[in-house]
């Protein structure tokens, strides 16, 4: 259950950004969660709902974008079948995780600036 500490880091970051821009409120925050990010999206959401009370994020819904994890060969780009051994069957290269599969990213904050 490290989702709470992640949400805490997230909210602190949003607070700092809002303060730096003189925002009076935050309307939405967008977060990208990869399948192999080590974060359970639902737990993350629950942690956010709990944690945001009393913070600048209090009225800001959380938009969560899920990214499925996929692997491919770094040499020939051939995709690796889901659940298969992480090695290219064509050229023998170890597979590489495609972009976003392990992302845990604060993408966007929509804030109200007077």
């Amino acid at each position: 259950m490290h989702e709470y500490s992640l949400v805490e880091a997230l909210v602190r970051r949003v607070e700092a950004e809002a303060k730096g821009r003189g925002a009076v409120a935050v309307h939405e925050i967008s977060v990208r969660v990869g399948e192999l990010s080590g974060v359970d999206p639902e737990l993350f959401r629950t942690a956010y709902e709990t944690f945001r009370a009393g913070t600048i994020c209090e009225k800001a819904p959380l938009a969560l974008a899920h990214v499925a994890a996929s692997w491919s060969c770094p040499a020939c780009r051939k995709p690796i079948a889901r659940g298969a051994v992480l090695r290219c069957t064509a050229c023998g290269e170890p597979a590489r995780l495609d972009d976003g599969g392990d992302a845990l990213m604060l993408d966007r904050i929509e804030m109200e600036v007077p």
Partner: protein, 289 residues
């Protein structure tokens, strides 16, 4: 205020950040890493389930590596008690407990604080024994040179498939308690197959802390990594070397430090996720023309 029509409505500003939520932890980890590298200390993050044999492995490592003359050290994390640190002390590994309270993992800041009153600089190999947990510790970079995941044969062959994030982060998997295999319905080939489906460059060593099986290979792995971290055993005495620092000592140790994201044991060129920067030290002959 809205500047389009002057209606007085506040303005909604979308701020694009695309920033890692763990950016703060990663900064702290880079700081730890700089310290480890500058002092020529091989720091390892040891992770695994509760009861997988992390502490027993370290006890056995102290015995198996005795002839190497390395100074070992450890910080050992648990939610409560300092039992593991005391066990390690008895095994001859100067150790310190990190009691995390409710936290299910170590983060770089916790490790940094623990370093302040522990003589980690005097060690050659410094183990960070993480909280027993196959989930949360995986995504926190601590500043280690490599991640070592401990998986015992009693845990079930499909454990790697159930916890892919942990095994993806591993540089080495130690399959422990192998002396128990004859007593169990466990198929080691299935463990290795599962690992190959979650770890793109699987590297495993089968060990038994009880019988000593496999420990020679584990110590050799440590030695291989140590050679890359420590410039031929000589410490940079006092000099506060940083990443990219060139130590122009024109004796024979002419070390170049290259720090880049990726894996220490291999030159993997992956650009994703964990910023695990490592210093690779090459002797002069690598660069001589």
């Amino acid at each position: 205020m809205c500047t389009t029509c002057g209606c007085g409505d506040p303005e909604l500003v979308p701020v694009e950040l695309h920033e890692k939520i763990l950016a703060g932890n990663d900064r702290a980890a880079r700081h730890n890493r700089e310290h480890f590298v500058a002092s020529g200390v091989l720091a390892l993050n040891l992770m695994g389930s509760p009861g997988s044999g992390k502490t027993a492995l370290l006890e056995a490592t102290a015995r198996a590596a005795a002839s190497k003359g390395w100074k070992l050290g450890a910080v050992s994390a648990d939610l409560a008690t300092d039992n593991d640190a005391r066990r390690l002390e008895r095994a001859g590994i100067p150790s310190k407990a990190i009691t995390t309270g409710q936290a299910c993992h170590l983060d770089a800041e916790l490790v940094h604080r623990s370093l302040h009153d522990f003589p980690w600089q005097d060690t050659d190999v410094f183990f960070i024994e993480n909280v027993g947990n196959l989930v949360c510790p995986a995504i926190y970079d601590l500043g280690q040179a490599a991640n070592v995941v401990v998986l015992s044969v009693t845990e079930g062959e499909d454990k790697p498939l159930k916890y892919p994030v942990m095994f993806k982060a591993a540089d080495l998997v130690l399959v422990t308690k192998c002396d128990l295999v004859p007593h169990l319905d466990v198929d080691l080939t299935q463990i290795h197959d599962a690992i190959a489906r979650v770890m793109p460059r699987p590297r495993t060593i089968e060990v038994s802390a009880r019988t000593g099986e496999g420990l020679e290979a584990w110590v050799a792995w440590l030695e291989e990594l140590r050679a890359r971290v420590s410039p031929r055993g000589s410490r940079s005495s006092g000099a506060h070397a940083h990443e990219h620092a060139h130590d122009h000592d024109h004796g024979h140790a002419h070390a170049h430090e290259h720090s880049h994201d990726g894996d220490p044991a291999r030159s993997r060129e992956d650009s994703h996720g964990h910023e695990r920067a490592h210093a690779h030290l090459h002797g002069d002959r690598d660069h001589d023309r």
